[in-house]
């Protein structure tokens, strides 16, 4: 476990010393400012706008970071052969993968925390707007969504190029958000007599985790009480951990047999 943590902290250090990280943070802050601007322009709607645009900004930049930095995590280590000395120093391959994952998840968490803090500060000082438990929950749930996305990014990048991995990861993210529609379409299609496509959609529905579960922006924006979400919301993080564990397990199994070029 010591090795896993050493690799994790090193990965975190690498990410926060990466310029891309700062560019993303700067852009996200810019978007929060935009939210502010829009809020001042719209009468009476400012609370909704700040929360909507603010959360969206955090979501988008979290996703960009997770996908575009995430797909390079393993690839760079293989490409630049920095993994050689890690393996030679007695770290096993599963320790390496787990360390990279944890380190990067820490990075994304840090970024979401920084932006979330900014958003909350803004809201706290905004007249007529206040921080709700639902808002905090939305940020936390988002982290679990990112956990799954990082799992996909790591899985794909362990056997393909960063560009292809990014495309595949984004596809999974889109499908993950369309999950419920997928089931609906599948039903319609099988009624219309194309069972093959219907089966494919249904397969995707079962394979790719439902990421819409982690999106409670509507509830935040329309100031719903946290109680109205129901207790099932507490199960979603567990679901995310399980899904990510499976993704990492697949990565480790394929990684274990591989020659590093």
């Amino acid at each position: 476990m010591n090795k896993v943590l050493t690799i994790a902290f090193n990965t975190y250090k690498e990410a926060v010393r990466n310029k891309v990280f700062y560019i993303l943070v700067v852009f996200a802050v810019g978007l929060l400012m935009l939210a502010l601007l829009l809020a001042t322009l719209s009468l009476g709607e400012d609370d909704r706008i700040i929360k909507d645009v603010g959360l969206s900004a955090i979501n988008w930049f979290g996703l960009l970071l997770a996908v575009f930095v995430g797909v390079n995590l393993i690839y760079d280590e293989l490409d630049k052969r920095t993994i050689y000395t890690i393996i030679a120093s007695g770290a096993t391959r599963w320790q390496f993968i787990l360390g990279k994952f944890l380190g990067f998840f820490m990075t994304v968490t840090a970024m979401v925390a920084v932006m979330g803090f900014l958003l909350c500060t803004l809201i706290a000082f905004w007249p007529g707007s206040n921080i709700t438990p639902t808002l905090i929950l939305a940020l936390i749930l988002f982290l679990f969504e990112m956990m799954i996305v990082i799992g996909f990014a790591i899985l794909f990048s362990s056997f393909s190029t960063p560009v292809l991995s990014a495309v595949l990861t984004l596809m999974c993210w889109i499908i993950g958000h369309l999950s419920e529609d997928l089931l609906e379409w599948s039903k319609q299609l099988s009624d219309k007599g194309s069972p093959a496509v219907a089966a494919l959609l249904k397969g995707l529905y079962y394979i790719i985790p439902n990421l819409e579960l982690y999106n409670i922006k509507q509830e935040v924006v329309y100031r719903e009480d946290i109680g109205q979400l129901g207790y099932t919301v507490l199960l979603h993080p567990i679901y995310a951990v399980c899904a990510t564990a499976i993704l990492l397990l697949i990565t480790i199994v394929t990684f274990n047999w591989r020659d590093f070029k």
Binding site: Y84, T85, I87, S89, G90
Partner: protein
């Protein structure tokens, strides 16, 4: 105890279209504790492949290997093996100091020791001044030296060095050579890959020559050079034209460089005959020596003839 043992080791790389390429063919090798072992071969001979198999970076197609008398996985976990990769490329975002501490932590060196060790090694490899500089700003020679420090952080008993001197200028090479000499004094076992023969000749006890995945030769440097063809060279200053003509008739070859005439003799008796003939005519002997050829000549001959 042999600290490194390789038995019938082969590696096939699978290329495009499933074509197989044999990079290492049935290698057998043993290295004893305290040896400086030179693993020689032209580019593409399979040296790096061998080291990567030993470190579990790749897996062999057949055969087996042991380090420290243990199975490879087990041996690596003991943190007694130092490794310096070929053309090393390390985490560029770390400073020299952080880099060494990272490896110390990774190999389970306690935190207080890690700092002391990193400090000491930075001095040993002469990078004390660059400890707070990021590796991305290091020169090639500095990267090699920090790589060596990294390999030494666990106080290894066995060091696997893959072309530690390639790409360095003569001064850089000399520095690394001195470091290796120092390690030799500390009785560390060193498995040293190179295609630069002068380095190997100066440092190694025993060498193996590998070509296209096959072991071509194994032995001490002396054994290997003695096994090749030898000849004598007899040199004279200022020969009279008659003597020159007569000796040229007798010798196997003749050449003149800067007023010195060199004759080649095939063996000792032949050489003596040349000397006696010349001295009978009053010529002055300058030098008579046994030429064994250099390792380089041997290498070119052995490896070249197997094309």
């Amino acid at each position: 105890m042999s600290i490194l043992r390789i038995q019938n080791l082969s590696k096939d790389y699978v290329g495009g279209w499933g074509r197989k390429h044999r990079a290492l063919n049935n290698l057998n090798l043993e290295v004893e504790e305290g040896e400086i072992f030179g693993f020689l071969g032209p580019n593409g001979a399979g040296k790096t492949t061998t080291i990567k198999i030993l470190l579990r970076i790749i897996f062999p197609s057949s055969g087996k290997a042991w380090l420290l008398d243990k199975e490879l996985d087990e041996a690596l976990k003991m943190h007694k093996i130092g490794y310096m990769p070929e053309n090393p490329y390390f985490y560029r975002f770390l400073t020299g100091d952080e880099f060494l501490k990272f490896y110390a932590q990774l190999t389970g060196v306690p935190r207080e020791d890690a700092k002391k060790k990193a400090d000491r090694l930075l001095k040993v490899v002469g990078l004390d001044h660059a400890r707070r500089t990021r590796i991305s700003d290091y020169s090639k020679g500095m990267v090699t030296r920090i790589g060596l420090a990294q390999a030494l952080i666990t106080d290894p008993v066995l060091l696997l060095l893959d072309e530690p001197m390639s790409g360095l200028d003569p001064i850089g090479r000399k520095e690394i050579r001195n470091l290796i000499h120092q390690l030799k004094e500390e009785k560390k076992t060193i498995f040293f890959c190179s295609h630069i023969l002068a380095d190997i000749e100066m440092l190694c006890h025993r060498i193996a020559i590998l070509n296209k995945g096959n072991l071509v030769k194994l032995g001490t440097v002396k054994e290997i050079l003695d096994s090749g063809p030898t000849h004598y060279t007899v040199s004279f200053d200022d020969l009279s034209p008659e003597t020159l003509a007569q000796l040229s008739q007798l010798a196997a070859g003749v050449g003149e460089y800067g007023g010195v005439t060199n004759f080649t003799a095939t063996d000792h008796d032949h050489a003596r005959k040349l000397v006696e003939t010349a001295q009978a005519q009053g010529a002055r002997l300058r030098e008579m020596r046994l030429d064994r050829g250099t390792l380089e000549e041997y290498f070119v001959r052995e490896v070249g003839s197997r094309e």
